[in-house]
């Protein structure tokens, strides 16, 4: 019993110290470097490292040098076995308003170790309220529209069944 207790304690200490000393900003810069290869760059006014989180403020998303979107805040949180990403006020450039919804007020993406190949998400904005899942096993993404807002610009990509409108795409 003492041995189990000691092992558990060592495991907890290891988990906590790994999170505590994790170079979160450098990890984010590495992600930025990977995105740069896809011609995507993120400009932010501040990067705040928390105990378990990393917060980016005023993020402008550039694709091929064009500022296509702005996010007021992006918050990345991880406990290693559970991770989440929250976005607040994602606004796309007005030139794209005819193609994509203008505003996403809040978006939440979550991943947990018990479903390692699944990312679930929910969001609300000018398009209404959605929740969805990306299934990495089948490479399928499905987004269900729980409440409908202005979806006229994306309606041609959506399908309607007895539950309502949804988007589904396999890769």
């Amino acid at each position: 019993m003492q041995m189990v207790k000691k092992s558990l304690l060592i495991f907890m200490a290891l988990w906590f110290s790994l999170l505590l000393f994790m170079p979160k900003a450098e990890l984010y810069h590495t992600v930025e470097k990977a995105l740069e290869k896809q011609d995507v760059k993120l400009n932010e006014t501040s990067i705040d490292e928390g105990l378990f989180s990393l917060t980016l403020k005023d993020v402008t998303v550039y694709v091929k040098g064009i500022a296509l979107a702005h996010v007021d805040e992006i918050d990345f949180f991880t406990l290693l076995f559970y991770s989440s990403l929250d976005m607040v006020n994602l606004k796309v450039d007005e030139a794209l308003h005819a193609k994509v919804p203008a505003l996403t007020k809040e978006a939440h993406f979550a991943h947990n170790i018990f479903e390692p190949l699944t990312v679930s998400f929910d969001a609300n904005g000018s398009f209404g309220v959605v929740d969805g899942k990306f299934n990495g096993m089948d490479n399928v993404v499905r987004i269900d529209f729980v409440e409908l807002g202005n979806i006229s610009m994306i309606q041609s990509f959506l399908i309607k069944d007895e539950k309502g409108w949804f988007y589904e795409k396999s890769f």
Binding site: A13, L14, S17, L18, F21, M22, P23, E26, L27, H29, T30, E32, K33, E36, K41, L42, N43, I47, T60, Y62, K64, G65, I66, A67, D93, E94, A95, A98, K99
Partner: protein, 281 residues
């Protein structure tokens, strides 16, 4: 002598600190080997600027205007106001319009004369007449809807079928040396980017890592783009003074294209630099 700390406690404390140091060192090694320490930011594009509006100024070599007695306007025999435009059909080689003149409906083709006014061409919502080297623009009557257009043209069966298949899209018309782009055409392409790529192929021209411009790969025959005079292998250098050396500059032009009054495009055709000018109607 009494010990301040129990030796076991000190041992545990040293053990914990060593453990934390090892983890920290581990992350440090990972950071040095694999992680990027530098923040990658997009540099602000200084080359983008608002598209300019062309203003025709009096050339300096013309004498300063002198005060003259106001000339009485000579009354012309017939007025353009008597011509009411009811319907328009534009084909690649001819424009056909239906007009109401002195309560009679008439169908005119390019070059036809009515009341001394010659039909020169037509846009999506106007017809251009000329008389005595002057051009007169007649706008489509506001109460003329598509259905009434077709009923008006009923007397011309050959034209009727063409009118029914016509898309409600502006045209690029030739007015002598000047090419006139209908604003509705610009608005259509500004709102439907995918339609641009159905008619024209564009690829980037690079020198090393630097973007030097955008090259035309193909231009669809009889499309509005072919009427602009641009050809395959032309390289777009600038539009309205805005150098097109980045995607941001090109996007800036695309975003503001609806608001411009005229278009001036500098292209490279082979080794020759050419300037193409258009008016927006």
């Amino acid at each position: 002598m009494k010990n301040l700390f129990k030796p076991e406690m000190l041992k545990v404390l040293i053990g914990i600190l060593t453990f934390l140091l090892i983890i920290k060192l581990l992350w440090f090694v990972v950071q040095i080997i694999w992680l990027s320490p530098i923040d990658i930011d997009q540099a602000e594009d200084q080359s983008s600027k608002a598209l300019y509006y062309k203003v025709k100024l009096t050339p300096n070599n013309i004498a300063a205007p002198q005060k003259t007695q106001p000339q009485k306007k000579t009354k012309i025999a017939g007025s353009i106001k008597e011509i009411k435009l009811l319907a328009i059909y534009n084909a690649s080689d001819i424009s056909v319009v239906t007009v109401e003149y002195r309560k009679k409906t008439k169908v005119l083709g390019t070059g036809d004369v009515l009341n001394g006014f010659t039909l020169e061409g037509a846009g999506s919502n106007f017809a251009m007449f000329s008389r005595d080297t002057k051009n007169y623009k007649v706008l489509l009557a506001k109460n003329s809807k598509a259905s009434s257009n077709i009923s008006t043209i009923k007397s011309v069966p050959a034209v009727k079928s063409m009118v029914q298949t016509k898309k409600a899209l502006g045209e690029v018309t030739n007015e002598g040396d000047v090419k006139i782009i209908d604003r509705s055409l610009l608005e259509h392409y500004a709102n439907n980017m995918e339609d641009i790529y159905k008619n024209i192929g564009i690829s980037e021209v690079k020198e090393g890592k630097d973007l030097k411009g955008f090259k035309i790969n193909f231009v669809k025959k009889d499309s509005p783009f072919s009427k602009l005079g641009i050809q395959r292998n032309d390289v777009i250098k600038s539009i309205n003074g805005q150098e097109i050396k980045s995607y941001n500059a090109a996007f800036n032009v695309y975003k503001n294209i609806k608001d411009v009054e005229s278009l001036n495009m500098v292209i490279m055709r082979g080794k020759e630099e050419m300037e193409l000018e258009y008016e927006i109607n």
